[in-house]
Subunit: 174 residues, 2 copies
């Protein structure tokens, strides 16, 4: 009952961090980050020195392949994975899964978007005294980054493997 038919559904499944009963949205994690992390975790599970093709990853993780292609490209550009073209080509981790944190993925995949930012550019928000908030939000953000930089891909991998053992069997036949 866990097999996926269409990818359309997936599009609705943002890794949306909602909580507090009422269903209030607080922070949403872009799909890119979600896909990126999943890709890395999957690669971490493939322990051999072989390359894993995009289509392989896409199939296993139910990520739209052309999209994954581009994400992999970004992961590679920031040195998280290593890629090779041609037959038997694909991707593999560029370093140990213990040396990759979730914040690395965020930084790699969710690249700059803000031409204007009130945090770094104080003149950006030219409000009389509303700057007390700038400190607030910048605090929040550092806290977040700090936390994410402590979560390693290897951790997620381990967690996932134990979950896979205990939880819903996926395509095991024994």
């Amino acid at each position: 009952m866990l097999d996926v038919a269409d990818h359309g559904v997936q599009a609705f499944c943002f890794a949306l961090c909602t909580v507090t009963g009422a269903g209030d949205l607080l922070m949403l994690v872009p799909m890119k980050v979600d896909y990126g992390v999943r890709t890395l975790v999957y690669l971490a599970q493939q322990d051999g020195p072989e390359f894993t093709s995009t289509s392989d990853i896409a199939r296993a993780q139910h990520i739209p392949e052309p999209y994954l292609l581009r994400i992999c490209s970004e992961l590679q550009k920031s040195g998280l994975i290593e890629s090779r073209r041609g037959p038997q080509g694909g991707h593999k981790l560029a370093k140990s899964s213990e040396d990759i944190s979730v914040s690395d993925v965020v930084n790699s995949v969710d690249y700059s978007l803000a031409p204007v930012d009130c945090v770094e550019e104080p003149d950006g928000c030219r409000l009389s005294g509303a700057c007390s908030q700038r400190e607030l939000w910048s605090d929040v953000e550092t806290m977040l980054l700090e936390h994410l930089s402590k979560v390693r891909i290897s951790e997620l991998k381990d967690q996932q493997m134990t979950m896979a053992l205990a939880g819903a069997p996926v395509k095991t036949n024994f």
Copy 2:
């Protein structure tokens, strides 16, 4: 030099939490939240029992008035402010500024958006084993909410007033 001419510029001034040099976006605070917080802080500064009109707030905080109108409505519905119509009408805090936290504003103003959420609805993301991330993100979120619920409007008010004293004088003439 701190006076504002057009509100158009304001639209670009998301309270965008960017950091880490490279300018990576991690979490963006919607304008609504920003406006909401600023409104409450402003109301907190008006200590009298009088009501403050929307146009007053809008002018002081450089918030587009019709938009503020709607935000105030939301703040009122969630019991953060009290509103009265008619001449001499307006808004005022419904409770002490010490009893209002930033997370209250987030909850009030940034209302439900997610018909589907991977955090509460485990079946939402029907991936084989990717659920290890659900825990990660849900952790992050609780941490965030916890932090925000500790920041009180009164705090921001105090901070802002001291900033106003020390920093750029706004329309003081002495």
